[in-house]
Symmetry: D3
Subunit: 237 residues, 6 copies
């Protein structure tokens, strides 16, 4: 696994070329129910990034642990940064990376909320106004949720079976044995949400019952494979 910042500047200089793929992992500090750590959205994409780095030699940038996750703010410990801050941070990092001549960038976010992803896309869009490079922006959950209705129920969601299984597989010591899930009422469609506690008692948005580390391993493997395929196709490697 290659971390950009574990290299000296002379080592990095020798390593970079037009085929280099650089991955920027982004997480969030966000409640994930009373059973998963606040770092869940960082742990998962970082693990995927490590697998990809091991298999195709991609270079991993220092991760951004913070994201936009405002609707979870009422749960203690959630740290949401502003949309503009997140966008500028990603822009500045990509801008510096592009100046080194890197041509292929993957922004991989564990957190997948629409506004969070929009900040990442906006930063990437502004970079493409300046540099002639290729950028992928996705969440590992964009891929993971393709397995809903197959490996897990269609309704699986935040801190549910997929997420609990995946964190169990990666960092079992951080997962609590007992989980709680209670939906208070049906979500109103198209309403701008202020606080998720309106609908859920705990931060768990779907029942984790059925989560296992084995399922987590299987999913992490499937996501890694799929993402490597996308990288090879999209960057024409």
């Amino acid at each position: 696994m290659i971390r950009w910042d574990n290299l000296t500047y002379t080592e990095l200089e020798k390593m970079l070329n037009d085929k280099t793929v650089v991955i920027l992992p982004i997480g969030s500090v966000e409640e994930h129910g009373p059973h998963l750590p606040l770092s869940s959205d960082m742990i998962q994409p970082y693990y995927i990034a490590e697998q990809i780095s091991d298999r195709i030699g991609a270079i991993i940038l220092p991760p951004i642990s913070y994201g936009w996750t405002k609707t979870m703010n009422s749960f203690k410990g959630t740290i949401s940064i502003n949309f503009e801050t997140l966008k500028m941070l990603v822009f500045d990092i990509l801008n510096a990376v592009c100046k080194t001549g890197v041509k292929n960038i993957v922004i991989l976010s564990g957190h997948a909320s629409k506004l969070h992803m929009a900040a990442l896309n906006l930063a990437a869009d502004e970079i493409l106004d300046i540099y002639h490079i290729k950028i992928m922006v996705l969440s590992d959950y964009d891929i993971a949720y393709e397995y809903r209705g197959r490996l897990v129920p269609e309704t699986d969601s935040h801190a549910g079976i997929i997420e609990t299984s995946r964190v169990m597989a990666i960092a079992p010591e951080l997962v609590k044995k007992e989980w709680k899930y209670e939906k208070k009422k049906t979500e109103k469609k198209y309403m701008v949400l202020k606080d998720i506690r309106e609908y859920y008692t705990y931060g768990t948005l779907s029942d984790p019952e059925g989560a296992t580390p084995e399922l987590g391993d299987q999913l992490n493997k499937l996501i890694t494979d799929r993402l490597i395929d996308y990288i090879k196709t999209n960057f024409e490697l």
Copy 2:
């Protein structure tokens, strides 16, 4: 060692009280000569933060790996984010942390350049306009450099004996065995610097000769002790 984001939201909730000390470690992705990793400014304050957490139960926030380090931009691998971005990022994180009721915050930066530190101070200053709390802002190098003229030469600097020794003590596998140092000419005082390469051939700004892991251990220990003293005095713990 307690990491804020390794806890669940319910665990964190129970842990927080008026005496809680929270540490935000900040680094930079910056060249440190051909012998030290780009992460040197993150490795060192993070290690100090871990020691402090072990000894007095301070909670460590997810670190910010990126800082303002523009004069090193010409060395490949350095990633400098903008002053405004850095300020907003620190502000947003502190703002969320203060909303949880935390009263004592330490911003501990491995990178110590004046503009970088000013961004951290400005963020802290804006937080103090809103919350009635206490904030310390310092670099571990504010303390380390007090030992210049004693344990190391007065002129020791970036990627020199102190820094090489400290990284050797913490992450020996990332330190290259051979170092290079060459000063091209005397720095002009009070001139705004564009590119450090005007004065130095390599990114090493003082000769690391004499660095040892033992000296690094000694310094890390001294810094930890001193910083714990400051924390206890300043926060009246």
Copy 3:
């Protein structure tokens, strides 16, 4: 149909109460193939807003004709405004509307691209930090596309059968009789798009063949009905 700005200030004052629903229609000035007008994304939600106003007395705000539609910029006539501009514009308008005491707001956008919608959601989110009101944000295409796979092919898209039919039903004089559609290659998933011309020769992103004004009428009616249901449920009217 009630337009906010066709009233005098005294008329409006008498009309407003806690049950009032206000609709802000938002479009874009965007190419829609060689057969549909640049105003297509404004014509459609505005028509829906008129129907809703007729049926439940909602008040229509002066529409915003401009949106974020950058990937279509290479087609002459497309006018994309910046993300930040769009967000601030919507925020300022909602802010003024909320000060009059309005409690129920619908932001209805004809354009549905992710970043465009994110700007609207971000504005709404910032308004909810200040006012205790209810806001819906959606595109009429969020509803229209539920009929893909039923009334039209699953792949129907920008300037395709649904859009052509709907504009035919509302403003037949603006629809050209001959349309052109040509896909050059398969879109790369998760890649940040710079210019849609990479994939399509004309601005038509799915084949409009099969579009009729009758289908347009049917769809407009279905969307209106569904949206009125949402409004009644979400605002508890």
Copy 4:
């Protein structure tokens, strides 16, 4: 009358050349006494733009209905957007229009307050830093008020004889039959105004008595003629 957005992108492409004049009509949503609609400042310049388009083939952009009109905020229904928002909106639109190769732009505002006009001028000024084009910025009231002291009293003002007559001529169905006007005290010169209600009971700032649709027609015709003259002279058509 040619509306930019009623064309398809291919139609527009054929139409544009170096002699093309594009008009951006700007209004405000602002109280105009108890007898005129909130849209009065949009109705008037839009009607003038239509006349000009009919006579010299100018292309009309989708109008901006919102302006800076803060001193009228205490009258319900007035929607004032911020100075910066208005400036950015106009800048973004002109920027996109200039990229299509348009060389001659008229910004025509129905609202004429100093700060509102300054926002339009500032946007135009920033555009001229980038593009080598010609821009006119004016209010139709810059011309209309030249007839004060001739066709109407010297003191005629907001919602007075000129404005009432002109709206009567364009949209008689929106004008109430009875008007009210009451000045409370003399305005203090050079004082920054917070709320016009300090000086006037209703939003009518001069007595509309004497307004007729015939006078309105005459004025609209005079303004159109004069503006066409300016356009021909200034753009050397």
Copy 5:
């Protein structure tokens, strides 16, 4: 004459009360033909402020020497600051002054261009959203130009008879004996101006012939008297 900053903090504290009038003089660094100094717009309002301070005890703030004067940028020596910078600077100063309890503020600008004045008005407007105070914003030229058509020709303008006379009366040593004036062509009305050199060879915009220090004295006295009247009336002193 009382200068805010010539006092100690304890002296100022004793002096301030609800009747205190504070004057913020604003100039520009702008060409004024080959015969007047770049500081002409600062010299004049500052002199007026001194007279007012002498006569009614108003306190003068440290002046702002820089303004928005972009159309003169092509003449060497002109220093135009951005609109936003000027607005923020005036806002910050007024904000601090208001916090001391001052209730009556005069912003007196020697430079009178529309965008420059708009920046001052916008800052004042934003201050009035926060503090319950009174602010006057004007240029001494708003008053001086009332004497056009009486003491000087109707067309007198920038660096013309009034301005030359006034500077002669205040700082004769800075006025060159020979002046130059040449108009190249008639200004186009309503066109956004990029560079005044399009119309004038030198920076002199009307012929200074006829300027005398006696006329300058007379005008300075008239402006002072009139402004004191406005201050007494507006602030009800």
Copy 6:
């Protein structure tokens, strides 16, 4: 002594060449104890600038009287402008100066607080991204404090012996005969300070006892000499 703005644009044009040194003096409006005027930080660097101009022909720009001095805000009369405002103001001025072809700029600030100096450095840094010129940024106190431990006690500070002596030498009429100094408690190191009154009763931060105009003259002379040396060396004159 040459002031930029006492020249006409034609005079300035003739004077400027590649060897020209331009000085931008910056102060603050800040309490300096009950014995020194609020303008102390402006008086001192301006006097130094005058000496330098007399001796080496440097051109002095109109000074900026306002700075960032927030920790002194609780003393009446202190006017602190925001960090961003100060940075933009200095940037705009330097930007205009650089466009005239000036190659050597000195920013000389009487106020020396870290955030204030950071704003000046950040502006200079942004200018160096655009222009190929040389900029010095310093406070006259950077030099003055080198004499602590020699001419005055090591602990001399704000409004102490050096500052009182220097102002006595330059503007004796503004210095009060009696001074007050009282330290309440020891400052906490590395704590972000909100209000200096926590530590000091008056605004005097070290005892001025021993201040004399003779010492002030001596210091002003020493600072001038040293600064001229720096200028000659740094700009290679």
